[in-house]
Subunit: 255 residues, 2 copies
DNA sequence: CATATACCATGACGTTGCGTCATAGTCAAG
DNA sequence: CTTGACTATGACGCAACGTCATGGTATATG
């Protein structure tokens, strides 16, 4: 019993184009063809197609499916586990996006409007939020408390629209100040004074910031593109400069 | 102050190619260019780029980003909500894949091997599982019990490798039998006898199957491509035929 | 001032899995 | 013999760039 391409399409509920494509990429070549060049599929072809569709339904890319169905020795079990891992990562990625969108909506509720500057804020604030949560999690694990978390919640959620404008203003001032001092060494007295102000600024407006957290924040300014961009836009290299200055500040103030 | 494309790329941490692309699609056109055709970006361009990257980081497609950043009147809030909905769907899709992969791995553990026939089983079993769970959920909602679920778990998880071979064998027999009777009416006595056997087969080997559930199963054989393919491969039109026969069986046996 | 080097431009192909024409040959029925 | 249903190949389109390839430009240096 042989089937023309259209019949196969109807039986398996795929489009003719799909079968054309699978033939073209060598995933499923019909066993026979008529003198006039029509594709003819047989039962074993249909079974192979079922397998293909099965793995497709699990989200495997066609390239892998080809490897899986065409070599019986292929370790399907391992492929499935690996695929599961990949899917878990995909889910994590989507969840990160969801969190980001959620934070943005929140930020909009606070600011009501969305001009250029609040944009930046929302952008940076997301990174900041992640940083804080990360530390809060670690703190929770180490000390079994959620105090830091609770406290920080209190601090950022109480800000009014006016507050935000002021906070953002002061942040810009600090950045500008640092930018004009970039020709000096990060150890420079004036620079260190600004870092101190930055530390207080963070602690006052965002969340109680230990020296350790501040240090981590400095690293993030260099490693997280969201922050780096904001700082480097004021003056290229500013992010790195601030991180170095923070490191020195933290070392100098360590108990 | 103007920036060449390379500088912008470094500041914003994107590739030159990306800026080329954004220029090409009209998402971000530099404000000036040198006599020799070099792109020159100004500060306002950088700010626009920041906005673009912001929305990109939320997972928006560039086409939408273009609309968002280029018309100030655009309702960003609504766009965000809509995007959130889309992300939720994406997460659901990934989770469905994860469940499917999980089921397959389980099925492999049961069968230890993965020949052609167990493949089908895993394929169909997934659909079956979804159907059962759906009904279990509804049952839970209606009667506040999880009995159906628990019972089915007991029923399917107790099968040995031998059992599965037998079950699969009987399933094939029923399908074959129905296929040879397809020229008759679905109301035919022999057909109805086979449907009864099918009902018992399902109840014995899978889960207690009320007439209502059986009827739903019949619908699924036509609407869910995973089942339809399995049945139509035996003989095209078999899925529909079985559904019709099931309907009649259910009507005839209704209390 | 000529050259080496770093930076810029445009063009085009590759990626993933098909959908969607466009053009043209083939087959069975009336 | 015509018509309509079906088939074939070929090629563009989509999303968001990465990655050459080819060639002009700006700048620092010997």
């Amino acid at each position: 019993m042989t089937y023309t391409i259209g019949k196969v399409a109807r039986i398996a509920h795929v489009s003719v184009r799909t079968l054309h494509y699978y033939d073209a990429i060598g995933l499923l070549n019909p066993s026979y063809e008529t003198p006039s060049g029509y594709r003819l599929y047989v039962d074993s072809d249909l079974e192979l197609l079922q397998q293909v569709l099965f793995f497709r339904s699990l989200g495997f890319p066609l390239g892998q499916i080809k490897a899986i169905v065409q070599s019986p020795a292929f370790d399907r079990r391992k492929a499935l586990e690996a695929h599961r891992t990949a899917l878990l990562e995909r889910r994590k990625a989507v969840e990160a996006l969801l969190a980001a969108v959620g934070h943005t909506i929140e930020a909009m509720d606070k600011g009501e409007t969305m001009d250029t500057t609040t944009m930046f804020d929302a952008f940076d604030e997301r990174a900041l939020e992640e940083h804080r949560t990360k530390y809060a999690d670690e703190a929770k694990q180490r000390w079994g408390t959620t105090d830091a978390y609770v406290e920080s919640q209190r601090r950022t959620s109480k800000h009014t629209k006016e507050d935000w404008k002021r906070i953002q203003q002061e942040g810009a001032e600090i950045r500008e100040g640092l930018a004009t001092l970039m020709d000096h060494s990060p150890t420079d007295r004036d620079v260190q004074t600004l870092v101190k102000r930055f530390h207080e600024y963070m602690s006052t407006n965002f969340y109680a910031c230990s020296l350790e957290m501040l240090s981590g924040l400095g690293d993030m300014y260099v490693s997280d593109p969201r922050f780096t961009a904001t700082y480097d836009k004021v003056r290229p290299g500013l992010a790195t400069f601030l991180r170095d200055a923070i490191k020195i500040y933290c070392t100098g103030n360590a108990t």
